[in-house]
């Protein structure tokens, strides 16, 4: 008995270590392989480009005038696209003229609706779709273009490592050897032209880490409860309750934290100020519903047949959950945590309200009782009285947020899609 047991444990541990080692050793090879294949990929892309463009034009034509247009269709499509383009151009440029092309577009649509309803409806829905994409394009472009001057002006000073009061260099993951230093604990002094975003980035990391500790385990357990444990009737109550939890506005959490939790911290944690601990906990509670509902989706999308098979073999529900549902949904659960982290990174008001006076960088870095502005709360609190220089830096903070959260979202989406594909393959 003991033999089999120790053997199994050894096997398990050794197997996992081997897998990890294999993954790590294969990593450089994969990166090199990807880089080596890059020129080929670019070349293939360039070769395919004309075809792609032609295809896009065909799609565009089909959406605007149809596959076999009559003269009326062409007139309608041309009129609507020209007026719409002009609307866009005038809105970006001389925008007091925007009323004319916009009126033209509306008139075209009204006439089209009377004469060719089906065509007009298709054009309208197409315009709505393109509008969504264009909105995202505008957001990206204007954020980046508004932030660029800050990078030009301040360069690496934007990531300066703050030094302590007595001038000693702070340890910052060996980055202090590369980055410039600035003699301010906060790294933020708009009047003196010091704009280091490093403390705010670090604060975001700390808050997110605390939030992860709260939302991760609780969220996964909650997802398990709703997806697997609860009876139908209990699920009908708890699932909307989680949705409602997601609905509580962040400013309400912020006000709670501001008026109640901060004094709680002072008595219970001997802390004279607001802290990462409280902000992170509150943000974690706010990210919890995201983790629960996405995780629950992942668990429910595991095909019923897989679970039934395990039950039929005589396994208990917990065994089924542990060895079938959770492993099958593992990537979905990690996507849930990533999305929850995305929420936590982007959360503004609760952090801004709780750590309103936050400045500086915690000393030591892991001091969860310290306080500092995060990327989001820096934007919210400094925007009101910001000079142009400050504004540009705040836009840079926005860009960093935008990119981080978008990457997280894309990653989560990728993982989820892969999981769905795998499950469908097994079905």
């Amino acid at each position: 008995m003991a033999d089999g047991l120790t053997g199994r444990i050894r096997e398990g541990i050794v197997g996992r270590i081997q897998a990890l080692v294999a993954f790590v050793t294969a990593l450089p090879g994969r990166v090199v392989g990807f880089l080596a294949s890059l020129p080929g990929r670019v070349w293939r892309f360039l070769v395919r480009l004309p075809g792609e463009v032609r295809h896009a034009l065909v799609v565009l034509k089909r959406a605007l005038v149809g596959a076999e247009p009559t003269p009326g269709d062409i007139a309608l499509g041309a009129a609507s696209s020209v007026t719409l383009l002009l609307t866009l151009v005038t809105f970006l440029g001389p925008n007091d003229l925007v009323a004319y092309p916009l009126g033209g577009f509306l008139l075209t649509m009204v006439v089209g609706w009377r004469a060719k309803q089906a065509r007009t409806a298709k054009i309208i829905t197409f315009v709505a779709t393109v509008g969504t994409v264009v909105t995202v394009g505008f957001i990206t472009y204007y954020l980046f273009s508004s932030a660029w001057p800050a990078v030009e002006k301040w360069g690496s000073g934007l990531a300066a490592v703050p030094t302590g009061g007595s001038g000693e260099v702070r340890w910052f993951f060996w980055l202090e050897g590369v980055l410039p230093q600035v003699g301010l604990p906060s790294g933020w002094n708009p009047a003196g032209g010091t704009y280091s975003l490093l403390p705010t980035i670090w604060a975001t990391v700390v808050v997110t880490a605390v939030a992860l500790l709260v939302a991760g385990p609780l969220g996964i357990f909650g997802a398990l409860f709703i997806a697997e444990v609860a009876s139908d009737r209990v699920r009908e109550v708890v699932k909307p309750a989680v949705e409602v939890l997601a609905g509580i506005p962040s400013i309400v959490y912020g006000f709670l934290g501001f008026s109640v939790l901060n004094s709680f911290v002072q008595t219970s944690f001997l802390d004279q100020q607001a802290s990462f601990l409280i902000a992170g906990t509150v943000v974690g509670v706010m990210a919890l519903p995201t983790v629960v509902s996405v995780g629950e989706d992942a668990l429910s999308s595991v095909p019923r047949a897989m679970n039934d098979g395990a039950i039929a073999m005589g396994a208990t529900e917990w065994q089924t959950m542990k060895s079938i549902s959770i492993p099958a949904a593992l990537s979905g659960l990690s996507a849930a945590i990533i999305l929850g982290l995305g929420r936590a990174v982007g959360e503004t008001m609760a952090v801004a309200a709780i750590m309103a006076a936050g400045q500086g960088i915690p000393e030591p870095l892991y001091d969860i009782f310290g306080q500092s502005a995060t990327l989001t709360s820096r934007i919210a609190t400094s925007y009101g009285d910001a000079t142009d220089n400050t504004l540009e830096v705040l836009f840079l903070a926005g860009v960093i947020l935008f990119v981080i959260v978008a990457l997280m979202s894309v990653l989560a989406q990728y993982i989820e899609n892969r999981m769905q594909r795998n499950l469908q393959g097994e079905r």
């Binding site: 444990i9 541990i13 799609v59 809105f91 970006l92 009323a99 089906a118 298709k122 829905t125 197409f126 709505a128 779709t129 994409v133 909105t135 394009g137 957001i139 204007y142 609780l218 357990f221 909650g222 409860f225 444990v229 609860a230 708890v238 309750a241 949705e243 409602v244 939890l245 609905g247 509580i248 506005p249 962040s250 400013i251 309400v252 912020g254 006000f255 709670l256 008026s259 219970s268 944690f269 001997l270 802390d271 100020q273 601990l277 919890l288 208990t316 917990w318 065994q319 995305g342 990174v345 000393e363 030591p364 001091d367 009782f369 925007y383 926005g398 947020l401 935008f402 959260v405 978008a406």
Partner: protein
């Protein structure tokens, strides 16, 4: 009783009976300990509680426990809620035993026993019970089915816990490098103990060790009430007030897990019981957290939010009317066999109606006796940076005046409800003489009245010097009202003319009822709006003409409903021909009720458009009503005796939500239709998906930055309402798009195929088949999305430009101007800064000492109510439509 403790298949020995009882008690006490840990963590009960207070706390707990268990037991004995599970029964009994034990121990026997010590003792006791359970099982006294090990997962968890606790203990006791050695030893020790022995020992021994250690440190006050650990390297530290509850929470989870596992006999079944207990505790924690957040905000904000609230009893009754109708239809739904189960359900259906009826009766008694209900209370007002307690009352007065808006809104709701229930009466009964001509004439009259109204509104009352309003308008008003009165009364009288039983007459005269009521409604509605355009308000005797006719017609319509309802009772429900008659007469009743609500609404509309109050039999429909709610209905009043409210913020939020929806809903739904119905899956749809996801995940404050960089320079150069609307619209767009797309996708392809098979083209199919089928999903998505953006703050503080204590609400309707230059239509209010509910709360925070916390709580309460209201409506609509779909 002995069979109560039998295992599934076998009767077991006396020893295992005790074993099971002890462990059931341990599970129950773990849950109690978990709750106590939560309560002490949020400081609802102090850890230092001792003596009589402590005893009364546990007596209260005992009473609650006895009440709960006894109720369930009673119903179980009656067979209403049969409790077949031995474990549930055992835990119930265990709960009682455990609570009695706790109450006995907490009786003031000695000194120095406070809640913290008691929690420590609880943990030690649990540890001993679990340890004993492990020993008993290992010795084979009870029969269990342990596996060979508790598993690596549990081992790893205990190892980490051992590392942490060993380290913490060693750091406080010795310090230095020894800390690491002890910590490592404890971690590895617990890991080995959990992984290598047989499962019954390996699940209980580490848990017992851990519990005894934690319990001893707390019980001996090594970590007690006054304990502090303030490391110099950190800016804060830990106190007993936090650590003891955390120890209790953690210890209870461990003891619950171990006890549950032992109770179910280890092995696969034991693991399941243990894991499920933890998962359930976690769910309990989440629901408790949500409920306490909502209740806490409500309890803090409710006094300020309702200061000076005053409402006339009659107004309250009118406001209740749609709810009464709703609960009535809820109660009408069929239910009822004589089983307990369905009896309970039936009660559940009738209960809301009964509750509302009782409330309505109470309000009526206020009207009849003339005594106001007054509830005095105290709330805090900020004066000179200090919170001053101020007296105020909530009053329900016996006034008989109802504000016009408060009639129009519930009236319209009730009208719409009954009109929806009403099906059709076309072709029923005998046609009236010249019915076609009559209907055409009525339509013509309504149309020409509307045209006359428009002409007078545009050209003035005397166009080209002709006194059109005085002659033509007056004539139209008189003719219209008289015709309406005649039609309504004729509809009623028609029911009494002719031969046969009342039901046969009602069936025969269906066309008269239909044409009479609909015609009167249309004419009267057209005439109401002609009056202000023509600038007059004719009267008969002391009362205005139009509302008098409205009330008369309402009475007639009610009488129609009453007569037909009585006639319907006399029809036997069995005969096929009679079944149709019942149906037809029932339709007439519904139509009568709808028309009555419609006529009353028109009478109230008359007051709204002319500004003249209308009184009948002492009841007044007034231009100004008897509802006064300062928090929501008045702006901030500087230097007043009362502080006023946050009307500008409420109005601002309403406009923001309306504007954002107007922007995002058409765009989102349109894109969803294109993507699912027209577009081929390919690069373009993938691109749109990426864009939507990017929009969905973008942090809200980034939208604010975008609005500031892109929209402000192009729209008025300053922060304002329009920019807030657009920015929130950008945020709403992905929510609407994603949910609409799901809804459109969920429409089965059979629908489209069936439509196509009938030769209907693609757009017609989308319009009349796909969109109606997807509508419920779209509506739900929009409501939930709106709920989310209504509470959004971060972008608004960048683009809305709101300030604390605004004294004026924004007036969007009154600010439209038409100009000759582009952009032709100009609305100054849209470009003005305004307040919104969330920014109001933020303003209180940033105002520091000059922000009134009580006002902040009240604003947060109002905001929470609005947002959760949207969520509740959204979730309810979704459940409703889902149920309906399932039934189909």
């Amino acid at each position: 009783m002995s069979e109560g403790y039998a295992r599934e298949n076998e009767l077991v020995s006396e020893e295992s009976n005790y074993y099971d009882r002890a462990l059931d008690t341990s599970v129950a006490l773990s849950v109690v300990g978990f709750l106590l840990g939560l309560v002490t963590l949020v400081d609802a009960v102090g850890l230092a509680t001792s003596g009589a207070a402590l005893n009364s706390l546990f007596l209260t707990l005992l009473v609650l426990g006895v009440g709960g268990v006894a109720t369930v037991g009673l119903f179980s004995a009656l067979g209403v809620v049969p409790m077949t599970s031995q474990r549930v029964r055992g835990v119930g009994v265990g709960l009682l035993v455990g609570l009695i034990l706790l109450a006995v121990v907490s009786a003031p026997m000695g000194t120095g026993l406070n809640l913290a010590t008691l929690l420590g003792l609880l943990l030690v006791g649990q540890g001993l019970v679990i340890g004993a359970a492990g020993v008993v099982s290992r010795l084979g006294v009870v029969r269990n089915e342990p596996a060979s090990s508790a598993g690596l997962l549990a081992g790893g968890a205990f190892g980490v816990v051992g590392l942490l606790i060993g380290g913490a203990l060693a750091a406080t006791l010795f310090g230095g490098t020894l800390t690491w050695v002890v910590a490592l030893a404890a971690g590895v020790g617990l890991f080995v103990l959990t992984v290598f022995p047989r499962e019954d020992v390996s699940s209980t021994a580490p848990a017992a060790l851990l519990l005894v250690t934690l319990g001893t440190t707390v019980a001996t006050a090594v970590v007690g009430v006054g304990w502090e650990w303030d490391p110099q390297t950190l800016q804060g530290g830990f106190t007993g007030g936090v650590v003891v509850p955390l120890f209790t929470l953690f210890g209870s989870m461990v003891s619950g897990w171990a006890a549950a596992k032992s109770r179910a006999g280890f092995g696969a079944r034991g693991r399941q019981y243990g894991a499920f207990l933890l998962i359930n505790l976690n769910a309990l924690l989440m629901v408790a957290a949500m409920v306490s957040i909502v209740f806490f905000v409500a309890s803090q904000g409710v006094t300020y939010a309702f200061h000076g609230f005053r409402i006339g009893a009659l107004t309250a009754l009118v406001l209740l009317s749609p709810l009464l109708v709703g609960t009535l239809s809820w109660a009408r739904s069929p239910a009822g066999t004589d089983e307990w189960h369905s009896a309970a359900r039936q009660l559940f259906r009738v209960l809301p109606l009964a509750a509302l009826g009782a409330l309505a009766a109470g309000l009526l008694s206020v009207v009849v006796t003339g005594d106001a209900i007054e509830i005095p209370f105290v709330y805090d007002v900020l004066q000179n940076r200090e919170l001053v307690p101020t007296d105020t009352t909530v009053r329900v007065t016996p006034e008989l005046t109802v504000g016009t808006l408060l009639v129009v809104v519930p009236g319209t709701v009730v009208f719409a409800y009954f009109l929806r229930k009403y099906g059709s009466l076309s072709g029923v009964g005998s046609e009236l003489p010249n019915q076609r001509t009559l209907q055409r004439a009525l339509g013509l009259a309504m149309g020409s009245t509307v045209l006359l109204t428009l002409a007078l509104a545009v050209l003035g009352e005397t166009p080209f010097g002709l006194p059109v309003a005085g002659t033509l308008g007056l004539a139209a008003v008189y003719a219209g009202t008289l015709a309406a009165a005649t039609l309504a009364v004729a509809a009623l009288l028609g029911l009494f003319v002719g031969e046969g039983s009342p039901a046969e007459r009602a069936h025969e005269r269906a066309q008269a009822v239909k044409v009479g009521l609909f015609g009167a409604l249309g004419l009267l509605a057209a005439v109401v709006f002609l009056q202000p355009a023509a600038g007059m308000n004719p009267s008969v005797g002391p009362a205005n003409l139009v509302p008098a006719v409205g009330v008369l017609a309402a009475v007639a319509a009610l009488a129609v409903a009453l007569v037909t309802a009585l006639a319907r009772r006399s029809v036997a429900p069995d005969e096929p021909a009679d079944r149709l008659r019942r149906r037809v007469v029932g339709e007439e009743t519904t139509l009568g009720l709808a028309a009555a609500a419609g006529f009353l609404t028109i009478a109230a509309l008359h007051v709204a458009v002319t500004g003249a109050d209308f009184t009948l039999l002492g009841v007044t429909i007034g231009y100004t009503g008897t509802l006064s709610w300062p928090m929501v209905m008045s702006p901030y009043i500087p230097l007043g005796p009362e502080p006023g409210g946050i009307l500008p913020a409420v109005v601002g939020t309403v406009w923001l939500v309306v504007g954002a929806s107007l922007f995002a809903v058409p765009l989102g739904v349109g894109a969803a239709v294109f993507l699912t119905e027209y577009a081929e899956q390919g690069k373009f749809t993938a691109l749109v998906e990426v864009a939507t996801n990017a929009l969905w995940s973008t942090p809200s404050v980034v939208f604010g930055l975008f609005g500031a960089a892109f929209l402000i320079p192009r729209l008025g150069e300053s922060e304002g309402l329009l920019i807030g609307m657009l920015v929130l619209g950008f945020m709403l767009l992905p929510l609407v798009l994603i949910t609409s797309r799901e809804a459109v996708k969920a429409v089965p392809d059979e629908y489209r195929d069936a439509s196509a098979a009938l030769g209907v083209n693609q757009w017609q199919t989308i319009r009349s088949v796909v969109l109606p089928a997807a509508l419920p999903g779209v509506i739900t998505g929009v409501i939930l999305g709106v709920g989310r953006i209504a509470g959004e703050t971060a972008p608004l503080i960048l683009v809305l430009g709101s300030t604390l204590n605004e004294t004026e609400a924004i007036d969007v309707f009154g600010s439209f101007q038409f100009t000759a230059q582009p952009p032709f239509v100009y609305n100054g209010a849209l470009l003005e800064a305004t307040a919104a509910l969330p920014t109001q709360v933020w303003a209180v925070i940033t105002a520091g000492v000059s922000g009134s916390p009580s006002m902040g709580w009240a604003s947060a309460f109002v905001l929470l109510t609005v947002v959760l209201g949207f969520y509740a409506i959204g979730i309810l609509t979704r459940t409703y439509f889902r149920r309906k779909l399932d039934h189909e």
